[in-house]
């Protein structure tokens, strides 16, 4: 059992945390364990209410009759985090992570791009989530929109079958992963991705051309950032020489290492407009499940049959 698996809460059935259950609990609220069960209590002391609810989820002690209905009153970040914790109670194959990006709310601040770079310690030339800026219309009726482009985590990923060494694959949760140690760096997957969502790590560093001054700056003094390991795919990849992931294909993985710890992806938490939303689409009570059922939803290049798990609201 890996460290992440150990940290995962014990699985429970989805029925324990359904909306109906929680509504029932609201009706029978009482005692400290059910301090969260009333909407007014969320309003009165949200921190305590959330903490109690979260504890119940993690311990798997949600009472019959409790529901997530009142989570709608929360900030979407808190709601998504609690839904994430709830989804982690299930078996991995029962989850279906999706990302919803509300184009009407995205202001093009690129905080998600930078958050992703910081989280995954991406070197120069490697980006998982660029934000495309687009102008459209004819003067004077013109407008701009911003289209963040993470990996689509396709249900039929064209990048997977072309890999000659099975270095990329879809895991049980539907996230397309990379095995850096196995990848030979042929970049066939880069050509096969219709979203240009894969990039190659050419081995650049931010400090390589900075002069060394008394050990203060320069590559050798850059341990704090340049060589500190990232935690992609639950492993640690320190940046040393030409070792992987240098020379490999790299891609967004929905911050899988954070998800498994019950933390939302970096691009979600850094989005100042709450335009990027994340959750388990297999949970009918989840925010993302509600949103992807709306009529103004679209996916990029659907005609290719890739079935992306990233949805855009327009």
């Amino acid at each position: 059992m890996t460290e992440q698996e150990k940290l995962r809460p014990e699985p429970t059935t989805t029925s324990e945390v359904s909306r109906r259950n929680f509504l029932g609990a609201l009706a029978t609220a009482g005692g400290a364990a059910l301090a969260v069960a009333a909407l007014d209590q969320f309003a009165a002391d949200p921190q305590a209410a959330l903490a109690a609810y979260e504890e119940q989820i993690v311990r798997g002690t949600l009472n019959q009759g409790q529901s997530s209905a009142d989570l709608r009153a929360l900030d979407v970040l808190e709601r998504m985090r609690l839904e994430l914790l709830r989804a982690l109670q299930k078996q991995p194959s029962e989850r279906r992570w999706v990302m919803v990006i509300d184009l009407r709310k995205c202001i093009g601040c690129h905080a998600c791009t930078i958050g992703c770079v910081a989280e995954n310690k991406l070197p120069p030339g490697v980006v998982y989530r660029p934000v495309i800026e687009e102008e459209y219309g004819t003067y004077p009726n013109v407008a701009r929109r911003f289209i963040p482009r993470p990996c689509m985590q396709c249900e039929n990923p064209p990048c997977v079958p072309v890999c000659p060494v099975r270095a990329t694959f879809t895991n049980a949760e539907g996230i397309v992963e990379m095995d850096y140690e196995r990848c030979i760096g042929c970049r066939y997957c880069l050509t096969a991705c219709p979203y240009s969502a894969r990039v190659s790590d050419f081995g650049f560093t931010y400090t390589e051309e900075i002069p060394v001054i008394q050990g203060l700056v320069g590559t050798a003094a850059a341990d704090d950032y340049e060589r500190a390991p990232n935690f992609e795919y639950g492993k640690q990849y320190a940046r040393e020489g030409r070792n992987s992931p240098v020379g490999n294909a790299r891609k967004c993985h929905f911050c899988q290492h954070r998800i498994l710890e019950g933390v939302l992806p970096a691009c979600v938490t850094t989005c100042i407009g709450r335009a990027t939303l994340f959750g388990d689409a297999n949970d009918p009570e989840s925010l993302v499940a509600e949103l992807i059922a709306s009529p103004n939803v679209l996916r990029l290049r659907e005609e290719l049959g890739t079935e992306p798990r990233v949805y855009y609201l327009k």
């Binding site: 490697v126 934000v131 042929c186």
Partner: protein, 394 residues
């Protein structure tokens, strides 16, 4: 060794000079190219101009070009010798096999240099996924290399002619599979509409045969001992006709396909844009001048009208052989340089995240190194192996 020296002495003076020239030029190219090769080995793919949005470039283009030459020439040779019983052509069997072997080695070195982790090439054997065209390509290349090595060894020894014929016949389906798989590597990529067609592997096949026919013709024109013989005249005329018709046929088919793609946008703007980039983009000259004018029109005119002139024939065949690289480069690069998502290349700035790919000095130097290596090996092989000896021609 004494026999080799004696056969070398019997060769025409020109041949001796040419073989020496080949390996000397090769050695010089090797030294020049070593600068780029050392950079490649030390810094990986960082010094190359390829990036994440145009992930394949000069090296892959040259790799496919070399595969066309190698497989095309060997398939045509085996077909003419073993299926059409052309015993005249059979006289240069060691030369053709040795040429194919050297070209294959060059292709493999070049494509290995294109890998981010070439030291893990063995993963393709250990963790093979036969759903990937690259897996097939590597396995078929391995089989082809082994087959060619055995064939060459037997041909140089002049023994086991029965086995040699079996291997020669075996090389036909193997070569066909290899060339079709090489085309399928691009043909199966649905994300790139100009590649994504079943016509592409077939076009690879026709193009490989056309390039291979010109290479065979060049070998005959340059290395045939008695250029006044009827054998030489008949053989060059035959090869010139084959090469000419293959080039005309291939160009006609490609032209029809291009027309259907461009007609009213062909229903796919991305595909039409990629084709427009080939025809009218910044490197239009590589298609119109290098490929169409120098690679097709001039050689075809020579092949059909001036085939009796040895020098013109050599120029025509050499032009065709050299300029075929423009075809593979135009297949690989413009398609990748066509944006999949508009605005993406401007979304995040880095030299490796742009669509304006132009091969840089490092990439050219590595190509020069590989060609230098090939020329050195080829020249020394011609000089010291009985590749051109009278014994093998008789």
């Amino acid at each position: 060794m004494a026999q080799i020296v004696s056969t070398a002495e019997k060769r025409p003076r020109f041949t001796l000079r040419l073989t020496d020239l080949i390996w000397i030029v090769g050695a010089i190219a090797l030294l020049i190219g070593a600068v780029g090769m050392l950079d490649r080995l030390r810094f990986g793919l960082a010094p190359a101009a390829i990036g994440s949005y145009v992930p394949w470039g000069l090296w892959v283009g040259f790799y496919d070009y070399l595969v066309w030459l190698e497989v095309g020439s060997l398939m045509l040779f085996s077909g003419m010798v073993y299926l059409a019983d052309n015993y005249t052509l059979a006289k240069i069997k060691p030369l053709v096999l040795f040429t194919g072997f050297v070209v294959l080695l060059m292709a493999l070195i070049l494509v290995a240099m294109d890998l981010g982790h070439f030291e893990r090439f063995w993963h393709v054997y250990l963790y093979a996924d036969f759903g990937s065209m690259i897996t097939w390509m590597v396995w078929l290349h391995t089989a082809y290399l082994l087959l060619l090595a055995v064939e060459l060894l037997l041909a140089l020894r002049g023994t086991a002619k029965g086995l040699l014929k079996v291997l020669g016949l075996l090389s036909l389906p193997l070569g066909l599979m290899l060339i079709l798989v090489s085309g399928s590597i691009f043909g199966v990529v649905a994300a790139r509409p100009l590649w994504n067609t079943s016509n592409l592997p077939l076009m690879f096949f026709i193009s490989a045969l056309a390039a291979g026919a010109s290479l065979l013709l060049l070998l005959v024109v340059v290395f045939w001992t008695d250029k006044t013989s009827d054998d030489y005249t008949r053989l060059t005329q035959r090869l010139a006709q084959i090469a000419g018709w293959l080039m005309l046929g291939g160009t006609f088919v490609a032209g029809v396909l291009a027309f259907t793609i461009l007609y009213q946008g062909g229903g796919n703007p991305q595909r039409a844009a990629a084709l427009q980039l080939i025809l009218t983009g910044p490197f239009w000259w590589s298609f119109w001048i290098m490929h169409i004018l120098l690679g097709v029109i001039v050689p075809v005119v020579i092949y059909f009208l001036f085939y009796k002139s040895r020098w013109l024939l050599m120029i025509g065949a050499a032009l065709s052989v050299v300029t075929f690289v423009a075809v593979t480069l135009n297949i690989v690069i413009p398609v990748l340089a066509t944006p999949e998502l508009e605005g993406l290349a401007e979304a995040y700035h880095h030299q490796k995240l742009n669509l304006n790919y132009v091969p840089n000095a490092n990439e050219w130097l590595v190509v020069i190194f590989v060609f230098g290596f090939g020329a050195l090996l080829y020249g020394l092989g011609l000089r010291f192996l009985p590749v051109l000896s009278k014994r093998t021609q008789e």
